[in-house]
C-alpha cells in the first residue's frame, strides 16, 4: 500500500512570551537584515520553542492510526499542520486525497441561527457542498435527535444538543482521510455509545484512513492497528498499538 500521508522533516517553531513593542523591534530588524541579505546575529534561540522537531512519518492508505503522548508533546500541532490550519516552519507534508479534521464539533455555529441554518453554515465551512447537505439533512437531524428543535435558534439548545448536532454535521463529510481529536469525550453516555458506533462504521471502510488522538487507551486499543507515540515534539515510536501503549505507560 502506498502512503496517503507522508511527513518529511517537519518542524514547527513557536515564539515564547507575549507580543509587545520588543517584537516589533525584532520584526523590524529581521526585515532590515532581510533587505541587506544578511543573517540577524542578535536573534536568540532561547525565545523559541520547537513544538515539532524533525518529524518523519508515513501513514498508509486505509490504516487506522492512533496518536498518543503527554500534553505538550506536539500531537495537536501535528494535527493542525496536517489539516492545514497552520503552516510548518520547515519540512513538508504530502497528502493524497481529501482530508477532514474533527478538531472540534460544531465549528462556526452561530447562537442566533437555527439548527437548520447552522447545519448549512458549519457544513460549508468544513467543506461539505450544499447539494450533499440537502440530501443528507434528514439523517443529520435524526442522528442528532433534535427533529422538533431544528428550526429553533441554537442559543436555546442544551449543550448536549449542540454537541450532537455538531458531531452529526462533521461525520457527514465523505473524506479519504479523517482526523479525530478527542471529540468523542463529550455528550452523555448514550450519545457517546452511538457516536463510537458511528466512528466504527466509518472505520470499517477499508479505504478510509483515520488518525485518532485520545488519552483513552482502551479506545485506542479498540480502534487502531498502529499507534504513534509522541514525546517532546518527536516521534518516539510508531508501530503496533500494544507496544506504543506499553511504552507510553512506562514513560
Amino acid at each position: 500500500m502506498s502512503p496517503v500521508i507522508e511527513i518529511n522533516n517537519l518542524c514547527k517553531e513557536y515564539n515564547l512570551g507575549s507580543i509587545s513593542y520588543k517584537n516589533f523591534i525584532k520584526d523590524f530588524k529581521k526585515f532590515y537584515f532581510n533587505l541587506l541579505g544578511k543573517d540577524d546575529l542578535s536573534l536568540k534561540s532561547e525565545d523559541k520553542i520547537l513544538a515539532l522537531n524533525n518529524v518523519n512519518l508515513k501513514i498508509e492508505k486505509g490504516k487506522k492510526v492512533g496518536l498518543i503522548g503527554k500534553n505538550g508533546s506536539g500531537k495537536s500541532t501535528l494535527l493542525k499542520i496536517i489539516s492545514s490550519i497552520t503552516a510548518p516552519t520547515s519540512g513538508l507534508v504530502k497528502i493524497i486525497g481529501n482530508i477532514q479534521s474533527l478538531l472540534e464539533v460544531g465549528v462556526g455555529f452561530h447562537p442566533e441561527l437555527t439548527g437548520r441554518e447552522n447545519i448549512y453554515l458549519s457544513g460549508s465551512i468544513i467543506g461539505i457542498k450544499k447539494n450533499i447537505i440537502d440530501t443528507k439533512i434528514d439523517s443529520i437531524i435524526d442522528f442528532a435527535q433534535i427533529r422538533e428543535y431544528i428550526d429553533t435558534p441554537v442559543k436555546r439548545y442544551s449543550s448536549g444538543m449542540i454537541v450532537r448536532l455538531g458531531f452529526a454535521v462533521t461525520t457527514t463529510f465523505e473524506s479519504d482521510i479523517l482526523i479525530i481529536d478527542e471529540v468523542l469525550a463529550v455528550g452523555d453516555l448514550h450519545f457517546r455509545e452511538s457516536s463510537i458506533k458511528k466512528m466504527k462504521e466509518l472505520s470499517n471502510d477499508n479505504l478510509k484512513t483515520i488518525i485518532f488522538v485520545s488519552h483513552n487507551m482502551s479506545l485506542i486499543k479498540d480502534f487502531c492497528e498502529q499507534t504513534i507515540l509522541m514525546k517532546k515534539g518527536k516521534v518516539d515510536f510508531f508501530g503496533s498499538t500494544e507496544i506504543a501503549i506499553e511504552k507510553y505507560k512506562n514513560s
Binding site: 490550519i85 513538508l92 507534508v93 493524497i96 442566533e112 441554518e117 448549512y120 460549508s124
Partner: protein
Amino acid sequence: METQRIIDNKNKSFKDIFFEVLNSFEVIFFLVKRDFVIMYKQTILGPIWYLLQPLITSFVFLIIFNKFANIPTNGIPPLLFYLIANISWIFFSSTFNSTSLTLINNADIYKKVYFCRLAPPIANIIIGFIKFLFQFILMLFVYMWYFFSDFESQISVTCLFLPLFLLHLSIIIFALGIFICSFTIKYRDLLMILNFGTQMLMFATPVIYSFSSIPEKYKFFAYINPLIPIFENIRNSLFGLPLIDFNYYLSSIFVTFILFFLGLKIFLKYEKNLVDTI
C-alpha cells in the same frame, strides 16, 4: 487518480488564492446569509436604523456645511448632495473597519478548521454592499421627490458607470481591509488609529464639498487619494454633472491596483501562520 497536496512553508500564489476563492463560493454565501440574518435578529428597528443614520447625518451636514458655512453644492439639492456622499462614505468607512476585524472575529473558526481565509473578509464586504443598497434605494426615493417637485436634474448616460465606481470602491475597501487585517493579527495598534484615521480621511474626500469647489493648487491630491475621483464620480454621475478629469480617475485606478496587490501579497504572507499569533 487522486490529487496530491503538499503542505509546506511557502506562500500561496495569486493564482492559487483566486481559484480557492472561486471554490469557496458556498462558504461566502452562507457567511453572508449568517450576517444578514443576524442583522435582522438583533432588533425590530434594526433595518430602519440603517436608513435613519445617513438621513440624520445628511440633515446635520445640510445645516452646518450648507446653511452656516455656505459650501456650494453645484446646483444639486443639498440634502441629496450630502445623502449620496454619506451613504457611500458609510459604506466605505464601516465596511473598511469591520473588514479589518474579520480575522480577529473569526479566530475561533480559523483555529479549528481550514477553509478559505479570505472568505470572511469577502463576505463582510458583500454584507456592507447590501446595506449600501438599502440606503441607496432610500436615496432614490428622496431623489424622486426632488425630481417631481422643483429640481431639474440632467440625468445622463454617465449614471450607467455608477456600478463600475461602486465596484472600484469595493476593491479599495477589500485591499485596505486585508492589509490592516494582516497587521492586526499581531499588532492591534492599527485598530486604535483606524477609527480616527477614517474620520480624518473623510475630510480629504469630497463628501461635504465637491471637488470642483477646492482651489486649483490643492487639486493634485486627487492623484494621491484614490477615493477623491471615486466619490466625485459617484455623485456627478447620478446628477448628470461632468465626471472628474480622466487623468485623476486613471491615477485612482492605478493606486487601487497597487493597493490590491500589496494587500493581497501581505495577506498571503501572514495567513498561513495567522492562528499562531492571533
